[in-house]
Amino acid sequence: MSNTKTGAGKTADYLYYVVRIATLVMVVIAFFPQLNPAKICEFVNKNMSLFTSGVSYGGLTKECGRAFRQGWIQESSFRLLFASSMISCIGIALAVVNGCMSIGNVKFKRLGNWFGIAGTVLELGGMAGIYNAYTQVAATDHPDRVIPSLPAFQMGLFLTLAVLVLVCTVVIQLLLPKARPEDQYEMESKYKLFLMFMPFAALAFVFSYLPLYGWRYAFYNYESGGTLSRDNFVGFQWFTMLFENAATRQDIVRVLRNTLAMSGLGIATSWCAMAFAIFLSEIKNSHVRRFVQTFTTIPNFISWVLVYAIAFAIFSTDGFLSGIMQNMGVWDAGRNLLQDPSHMWLKMLAWGMWKGIGWSAIIYIAGISGIDQQLYEAATVDGAGRFQKMWHITVPGLIPTYMVMLLMSIAGILSNGMDQYMVFENAMNTDTITVLDLYVYKLGIVGGAIPLSTMIGMVKSLISVVLLFAANSISKLLRGESIV
């Protein structure tokens, strides 16, 4: 990376690895509540990370209201804590800038090092500020309420890293050759592209990969607001509980039956979209065809809540259907059909079709227009009728698309989402409507049984991945093409 690979240049390169890794660790620390060096007393929420302590004063002091009023702690100490956390965060940001600039040329590196030095100095200052805030808080008259505690490990770790980065950066700055005055800021294009892409990779990591770290809750006896420690590690106890505890087992069996039944019905009727497209294309008047296509697609774009609103307007006690039936004298009073728990699976299928069939048909309509017209002409000459042409030309032409859709839906058999079932659920039909996703939501978010629901979600995710791979291999076997 340096222009001349002298011994000094090589040493600088090695030191840069240390700097980059240490910087990365500091970024991680900034976002992990367990590693927050700013947790100096009971009133700092244990869900606050260094980053959140440094950007949200309201969040930091959320639990302090009483303590401030009673004079247990001074608000100025918390202001100091907030400012110090913010300074540390800025320091980390500068260190990151250094890490990014370190893959440029010498001129870039030398500038970056100043950022790095400034950043680490800020970090050290921030830590000093936090320590100062701690001594102020520790001087409280009510240590039993405030419970001041120095986060020694967290602070020590952070200080070690900051000092390490500082020392390395200074050494590198001394080792690096002076940039020639005619040098420009330059970076190899492969690194430039990567740096531009990095924010997206970081976001994807934080929101898609980091949740996997939450799977560890499935192995602990965790209660909301508690902590994870060696004491409440239970291994696979929650997993075995799924099978051994009679009540849970019954729940799981019931929920799985609903899930598989409704997904299964969906899969068994998935050919309907294809039939819809085929028969729609039999309508020769293109205005009618377009009209139908336009209006049958609308329901796909409204949310399930709105679908329920529509169901409510049509089928509830004083809705459309009740009104009509009463006017005709068939019913004496309005009926709320949404409360009726019978045939729930079929009703859900019907709503799913109402919402989705027009949209699902589009891909097949596009497929039909891709079929060679000469095939139809030849068949007509040979005397084939309408249905024979459909069955022997159109259907075979659409089967490859259908197979992909079918395999994808088989891979997603356990994930039928919770929106639809959540909005249509009520006390009467809950037994036959609760699917896996809804069950996990109710168990974990509403009921607070975090470990058990995490375990169920985890098993579900693993099975889904296996199913996806299986579907993919089948597709490869049958069509010689993968679907993912």
């Binding site: 980091l210 949740p211 697609t297 609308i298 774009f301 409204i302 809540v305 004083d318 009104g323 979600g457």
Partner: protein, 322 residues
Amino acid sequence: MAKTTQEKLDEKAEKLYYKKHKKRYRYTAGDIVFSILNYTFFIVFTLCCVFPFYYLFINTISDNELVSRAAINFIPRGIHFENYANLFHAGEVGQAFLVSISRTVIGTTLMVAASALAGYLVTKQNMWHRKFWYRFLVVTMYFNAGTIPWYLNMSMLGLTNNFLAYIIPGIVAPYNIILVKTYVESIPAELEESAFMDGAGYFTIFRRIILPLCKPILATIAIFGAVGHWNSFTDSLILMQNAPELFTLQHRLYLYLNTTSNLGALFEGGASSVSEGVIQSALNSKVIKYTISMVSIIPILLVYPFMQRYFEKGIMLGAVKG
């Protein structure tokens, strides 16, 4: 719907074909029966799709007294628009509307910008470990950790009861990035090369050449993204448990639909109807539910004509894998 020249030619050929064959082709009785059945089915199904929207609408603009007796079924009577005006007297609804609008606008803008840039970057063969980073993104479409770990993660990041929770997680959308990538790959490479020769940097090329050429695909993902934002309900339900002021319109509507209590109290301004007693309030509950539903549907119906152009593009490109 915009038609390509190929489509126009096809249509012409089709018309010609039928004109030529019409004289020779005689409709049999079977054909006629089939056509009648076919038309009937599709017209009835289309009505099933359209009528509920119409029914909701006429009930929100008709005389509230008639609506309460379920007397408005096909034709609106006593037309007035006070319900819509009154709705915004209820602070909750106005607030929810604002939240939904802001998340849709901000979230969609950022998502489109991010997808455009990321989609362009992953087409660059000389990016450091391009294959790995691309897969790193794509893989996230095929697994997820589950609702609870996702929730725990969001709360660890301080994104519960926080408006940013609507925006930030949606910025990187792998599927949309793939769509943009596929599209950028179809742009002739010479365009970029010549700009590169002229000394333009990657960012300049992106802004001056790629971005303008990508407008159709960006419009597609913008519209689908906006509809997704407008419709999303689960994130509000799970993440905003202690921040009712951040509920989205869909979440509010869900709560209202499930409440049997007197929603008439929401109408602070429309006090005249509230004072008339319980029946009047019950009536208002129904009208309020319908009106909020309509308010949630109208934006979708407004963008729908624009969306239609992009339907096939969106769904067909999805079939192309990265």
